[in-house]
Amino acid sequence: MSQNITPEVTSRRNFLKKFGITVGAAGAVTSLGLLSACVNDDDEMVSLLTTDGQTVQVKKSQLKVNLVEMQERGREGIPGKKYVMVIDLAKCLNARLCMAACQGAHHLKPEQHHINVLQMQNAEGTGFYYQPKPCMHCDNPPCTKVCPVDATFKRQDGIVLIDNERCIGCRFCIAACPYSARVFNWSEPKYVEGDENRVYDIELNVPQKKGTISKCLFSADQLRVGKLPYCVSACPNGTYWFGDANEDAVTNGTSKETVRLSTLLHENAAYTLMPELGTKPRVYYLPPKDRLFDYQNTEKNYLGEEEHGHHA
C-alpha cells in the first residue's frame, strides 16, 4: 500500500525545517547552522524545496559541507541520552503499521525489514504470539565489533547506526547479528530516482545505496527533534514504549502515556531476546500474557487475514 507514495518532496521540506535552514523566497540562501554560505568552484546546482513550497537552486558544494557536518553529528549521538524500547507482546495484534511506517520512512522495499513482526511460538503445544523485532541496539553489539571500516558503530546514546557512505558491503555484520536485524541493498534501492539529489542523512539512512547495509536506527532523525520513532508512533495498539533510560521513563507511542521504565520492567518481569548470547539488548519485551486476540487460531491474524508464518 505504501508503494504508490513518493515522500521525498515533503521529506526535503522536513529536512530543511529540521535543521533550521531557511531558504528565502527570493532565492537567497540564508545559512543558519549547518548550511554554510561558502562559495565554491563546484557550480553544479541542485533543486531544493523551501519551507513555503518553492523550488530554489542551491550549489552542490554547499550541500557537501552539510553532509560532513551531518555525518559528524550523526556519529556523535545525543549526549546524556540512553534510549530504550519496551515492546508489550500482549498488545501486538500484528497490525503491521509499524513495518509500513518504517519502510516508508527509510525508503525500503517490501522485503526489507528494519522492523519485522514475527509470529512466534516458544515450544510445541504453547500458544502463539506476535513479536515485533527491531534492531536490539545491543550494548555489546556483535555487529559493530566485526565491521572492518567503522561503517557501523554505536553512538553515545546507545543507538547502533550504519553509514552507507562508508560501508564496503562485506556483510560481516549480517553474519554476526544473531537477531537477523540487518538488511542489504542487493540491487538498486527503491527510490533511486527520486533520491539522487538528496543529501545522505546518516540518522535516517536515506537515500539507500546499492551494495550497502541498512538497519533499524531507532529513527535517530526523529529522536533528534524530540519525536518518537516511526514504528512506535504508528502502532495503533499501544505495543511500543520508548524513552530514555537516564530519565527512567518511557512513553507509549499510541496513548502517549508515560510510565516509569523500572516499574514497567519490574512489574511485568520483562526480558530480552537471547540474553545467553551476552549482547545486552536495549529492547525489552513484556511477556505475551492476556493477549487480546484468539491465540488458538494460528491461521488468521486479527484482521482475519491468512497467516503464512514459518517457524524456526
Partner: protein
C-alpha cells in the same frame, strides 16, 4: 650429497639436470597454448558475468539477507586453505630436513602464491561496494577480523613471493648463463634482471641460505595466522555451526589436506607434460601419499570433535544445523565430502599400491573437490538457520541455490589462479636445478 664425484662426472650430471628441467622453459607446446586458451576463455566469460554483477548489484547472485555469504566466501576459504600447502611442504617438512620435498617444494610454493593472490581477489568480488576497497586502509578498524585477514593475506603473499623468488636465484643465474641463445631476448632479459647478478659465490650462498631459513621459520606462524583468522570470520559470530572454539585448528588441518591434494594433482600433470619422471619420482608420490594420510588423520580428528561433540548434546540450534547436514538438505554433500574427500583418501592411501602417481592424482582430485564442497558446507547451512524465524520475506530468502552468474564468476576466479600457476610453471623451472644437482653430488658453486 652422496660420494665425491670427479669434476667430469659432475659436469655430465649437471648438464643433464639442467637440460631436463629447462626444456619446458624453452618451448611452448600446442597443448599448453590450448590449455591457456581454455583458461582465458573461461576468464573472459567470468569478466562478462562480473560486469553484470557490478551493474545490477549482488542481486544477480543467490545471496540474500539471511544467506548473505555464499560461494564466493566458500571459495575464498578454499583458496586460503589450499595456499597453506606452501608453508606445509617447504617450511614444516623442509625444516625437518626431509630431502624428498626438493623436487616438489617449488610446485607447492607456486600453488601457494597463485591461490593466495586469488583469495584476495574473490573477497573483492564478494564486496557490495568494491569501489570502496580503499576504505579498509583509510578507515581500517583494528578490532575487525577482516582487517586482520587483509593484513595476514598481504603478508603471506609477500613472504610466499620471497620464498618462491629466493630459491630461484641460483636457477635464474643458470638460465641467464646458459639460455641466451635458446630463448627470445625479452625472456632472457627477464631472467637476467631477476637473477640479481647471481654468480654463486660462497658469500651469496651464505646470505641466500640464511635468508631462506629465516623466512621459512617466519612463514609458519604467518600461515597459521592466515587460516586461523579466516576461521575467525566464522567463529567470531554467534551462529550454530560456526560458534566453535576449535575452528582455527579445524581449518588449518583441513587446509593441509586440501593443499596436499592440489600438490598431488599438479605433480602428476607437470611430470607428465614436462617428462620429469626422473625427478618427480614414484617415491615422491609415495611420500606425498603418506603425508596426505598423516594430515588427513589430523583433520579427521578435528572433524570428530567438530561434529560429534555438538551432536552428542544436541543443543537446539546445533541440532537443527546438524540435522540439515546429517540427514537433511545438505546430507548428500556432507557425506560425499566426508567419505569421498576424507575417509576414502585415507583408507586408499594406506596401501602402498595406491601411492602410485595415477591413483594419487585421482585421490588428489577427490580431496580437492571434497575440500571445496566442505567449505560450502561450512559456510551456507549455518546461515540458512537464523536464530529467529525467517518470515515476511520471499521464498528465495529461505534457501541458497547459486545462480549461473555466481558460478561463472567463481569458476573464472579459480581459472585465474590456475592460469597464474600455469604461467609460473612455464616461465620458471618447476624443480630447483641447483638443489637437485647439489643433492646428486654436484658442486654447484663451480658448475654454475
Amino acid at each position: 650429497m652422496s660420494e665425491i664425484k670427479s669434476q667430469e662426472e659432475q659436469k655430465v650430471i649437471f648438464e643433464k639436470i639442467r637440460k631436463d628441467i629447462l626444456r619446458p622453459v624453452m618451448s611452448i607446446s600446442y597443448g599448453y597454448k590450448l590449455w591457456v586458451g581454455i583458461l582465458l576463455t573461461i576468464i573472459a566469460v567470468a569478466v562478462w558475468a562480473y560486469y553484470y554483477q557490478l551493474r545490477d548489484g549482488l542481486m544477480v547472485t543467490a545471496m540474500r539477507d539471511y544467506v548473505s555469504w555464499g560461494m564466493y566466501i566458500a571459495t575464498f576459504v578454499f583458496f586460503v586453505a589450499t595456499a597453506l600447502v606452501g608453508m606445509l611442504i617447504s617450511a614444516v617438512v623442509g625444516l625437518l630436513g626431509k630431502k624428498w620435498i626438493i623436487p616438489i617444494s617449488r610446485i607447492a610454493e607456486m600453488i601457494a602464491l597463485a591461490f593466495v593472490m586469488m583469495a584476495g581477489i574473490i573477497i573483492v568480488v564478494d564486496m557490495g561496494r568494491p569501489d570502496r576497497l580503499l576504505n579498509v586502509f583509510i578507515h581500517g578498524r583494528f578490532q575487525s577480523p577482516i582487517f586482520w585477514d587483509i593484513t595476514v593475506v598481504t603478508t603471506y603473499v609477500t613472504i610466499s613471493m620471497l620464498l618462491l623468488f629466493l630459491p630461484l636465484l641460483p636457477d635464474l643465474g643458470i638460465m641467464r648463463n646458459h639460455l641466451k641463445k635458446d630463448i627470445p631476448a625479452w625472456q632472457w632479459n627477464i631472467y637476467n634482471i631477476l637473477s640479481l647478478g647471481w654468480v654463486g659465490t660462497p658469500n651469496q650462498y651464505k646470505i641466500l641460505h640464511r635468508t631462506i631459513r629465516v623466512l621459512l621459520v617466519l612463514i609458519i606462524p604467518v600461515a597459521l595466522a592466515i587460516h586461523t583468522v579466516t576461521s575467525w570470520l566464522s567463529a567470531a559470530t554467534l551462529r550454530a555451526g560456526w560458534d566453535s572454539t576449535i575452528f582455527g585448528p579445524y581449518y588449518v588441518s583441513g587446509a593441509f589436506v586440501a593443499g596436499s591434494g592440489a600438490v598431488l594433482i599438479a605433480m602428476y600433470f607437470i611430470r607428465k607434460a614436462y617428462k620429469l619422471e626422473e625427478y618427480i619420482t614414484d617415491e615422491s608420490f609415495n611420500m606425498m601419499g603418506k603425508l596426505l594420510v598423516l594430515v588427513s588423520l589430523v583433520y579427521l580428528y578435528f572433524n570428530l570433535n567438530e561434529f560429534l561433540v555438538p551432536g552428542y548434546k544436541m543443543k537446539t540450534a546445533d541440532a537443527v544445523h546438524l540435522h540439515t547436514l546429517f540427514v537433511g538438505k545438505y546430507a548428500f554433500m556432507f557425506w560425499a565430502t566426508q567419505i569421498g574427500g576424507l575417509f576414502l583418501p585415507i583408507f586408499l592411501s594406506l596401501f602402498r599400491k595406491m601411492r602410485k602417481p595415477f591413483p594419487m592424482m585421482l585421490i588428489g582430485i577427490a580431496v580437492v573437490l571434497g575440500a571445496w564442497f566442505k567449505r560450502f558446507i561450512i559456510i551456507i547451512p549455518t546461515l540458512i538457520h537464523a536464530h529467529l524465524p525467517i518470515q515476511n520475506v520471499p521464498q528465495e530468502f529461505h534457501e541458497y541455490n547459486p545462480t549461473g552468474i555466481e558460478i561463472t564468476i567463481t569458476i573464472g576466479v579459480i581459472a585465474i589462479s590456475v592460469l597464474i600457476f600455469t604461467i609460473l610453471v612455464k616461465l620458471f623451472p618447476v624443480i630447483p636445478i641447483w638443489e637437485t644437482a647439489h643433492e646428486k653430488g654436484v658442486d654447484i658453486e663451480k658448475n654454475l
